[in-house]
């Protein structure tokens, strides 16, 4: 019988393998990744590894030391060029092809970059290599670092740069940081946190382009006519799901791979992690979640789905959870609020920089965010897993 083929050897892909083995499947499993080495764990790349407080080798994925036990045929440096979902055949960059009995799509996402020629000193951050290259540039002692985009990665990089003693300008086109995932009130707290730590925060201003000095970046031109002088620029303007290789495959693609509520994208093809958009029955919404724990949980669900008969398939309900470390503050959030949801501070206060805020839409709680309040967030998450009703959350946190 043909092997199960997992495309992507990061969190979602390896978690799928773990679930496949955990379900007792002892057939061949091939795991392919375009990267030359097993992908590192990513969260430390904007935090400890960038700061130099963690050895790069320590930033390994949770399953990295269980590969042998998982008994996989791991092929690194092996990019999949295309898939034929009807025949379940994959064509690889090296010109060979592989037949599969099932395919797990776990190809994650790639950072967006700015248009224009590539310049020295301009960085994106996704891989260990990216993190080490940025760190080398930071250690060369730039006068100022410009961070474009105040999403989670941009905000964490800004914090790490400040901790390294560098001057930082954080540029965000929206009116507050993180508005893609958080109501404005919380975004404003994050902006203030960075200002308190000496970051020059510029909100509501777009980037016109980079200013070059020969091959090297010299600054960032802003839409309001001003500019920021910086010899190191970090671009954190979001990621694009890695689905180009699925063009013409028969696998539906939109905002990532389009899956049903069981993580199935086409017969014999499942998807998980940053690349996968699925119908989350718990929220009654389609979503694509770019978070560490989610990649593990959805990877496991997708692995089990691949082995299940259609009649036994179960949906994958989820209350996503993530953390972000900025300075000595730990942000954690459970759920999936929209920027327009009401924000209610139920514990602590913004001034103390220690609080719990719950997001409300009608009689629903769409999420709970804590700053240095891990216990509250975890407990709220357990409640939200039972139901999204607002009243029990208010009661829990009151």
């Amino acid at each position: 019988m043909s092997p199960i083929v997992v495309v992507g050897a990061s969190l979602a892909g390896l978690s799928a393998v773990d679930a496949i083995r955990g379900s007792g499947h002892d057939g061949d499993v091939v795991v392919l990744d375009a990267a030359a080495e097993l992908p590192s764990d990513r969260p430390p790349l904007s935090k400890q590894v960038l700061a130099g407080t963690m050895e790069p080798a320590a930033a390994h994925q949770p399953l990295a030391n269980r590969l042998e036990e998982l008994d996989v045929d791991l092929r690194l440096g092996c990019r999949v060029e295309s898939l034929d979902a009807t025949a379940l055949r994959l064509d690889l960059r090296d010109g060979t092809s592989l037949n599969a009995s099932g395919v797990v799509v776990a190809t994650g996402a790639t950072p967006r970059s700015l248009p224009g020629p590539s310049l020295q000193g301009v960085h994106v951050l996704r891989t260990l290599e990216d993190s080490l290259a940025l760190r080398a540039d930071l250690l060369s002692g730039p006068d100022r670092v410009a961070v474009i985009g105040a999403g989670f990665i941009g905000a964490e990089v800004a914090a790490t740069c400040r901790e390294l003693g560098l001057e930082v300008t954080l540029i965000e086109a929206a009116s507050a940081p993180m508005v893609r995932v958080l109501p404005v009130a919380v975004g404003s707290f994050v902006a203030d946190l960075h200002r308190d730590h000496g970051v020059d925060v510029r909100l509501g201003v777009g980037v016109e382009g980079l200013v070059a000095d020969g091959e090297r970046v010299r600054g960032v031109a802003l839409a309001d006519g001003t500019s920021v002088d910086a010899t190191v620029v970090v671009v954190g303007i979001g990621v694009v799901p890695d689905v180009a290789w699925l063009d013409g495959s028969g696998v539906p693609v939109g905002n990532g791979v389009t899956c049903d509520e069981t993580c199935l994208a086409a017969p014999g093809v499942v998807a998980a992690g940053d690349v996968a958009e699925w119908f989350n029955p718990h929220f009654g919404e389609r979503m694509r979640v770019e978070q560490w724990e989610h990649a593990i949980e959805q990877g496991a669900a997708a692995g089990r789905r691949l082995l299940a008969a259609d009649t036994d398939a179960v949906p994958f309900p989820s209350v996503p959870w993530f953390w972000s470390d900025q300075y000595d503050r730990k942000l954690q959030m459970a759920g999936r609020p929209a920027a327009t949801d009401e924000a209610h501070v139920l514990e602590g206060s913004f001034e103390d920089q220690r609080f719990v805020v719950a997001f409300r839409r009608g009689d629903r709680c769409t999420g709970v965010l804590g700053v240095n309040r891990p216990r509250h967030v975890v407990q709220a998450r357990m409640r939200l897993t039972e139901s999204l009703d607002w009243a029990p959350i208010e009661e829990l946190l009151a």
């Binding site: 949770p62 724990e293 953390w323 730990k330 954690q332 240095n372 891990p374 216990r375 975890v378």
Partner: protein, 63 residues
């Protein structure tokens, strides 16, 4: 079964507490407390799950 947490690695994000509140508790001082260092065998599944899910891989189980 003995639960050992490497507190140099632990970031107090309370994932373990979400999975096995009988064994792990993050208190208001932001520190993790291990409530039972030698939990009963019936908690093994949960403790193993917590060890697997800990983002810092800070939990070890010594049989």
């Amino acid at each position: 079964m003995k639960v050992v947490v490497n507190f140099d690695l632990c970031e107090s994000n309370a994932v373990c507490m979400g999975i096995a509140p009988e064994v792990f508790e993050v208190r208001d001082d932001d520190f993790l407390y291990v409530l039972q260092e030698e939990p009963a065998e019936e908690l093994r599944g949960k403790v193993e799950e917590a060890a697997r899910r800990c983002p810092k891989q800070a939990i070890a189980i010594e049989d």
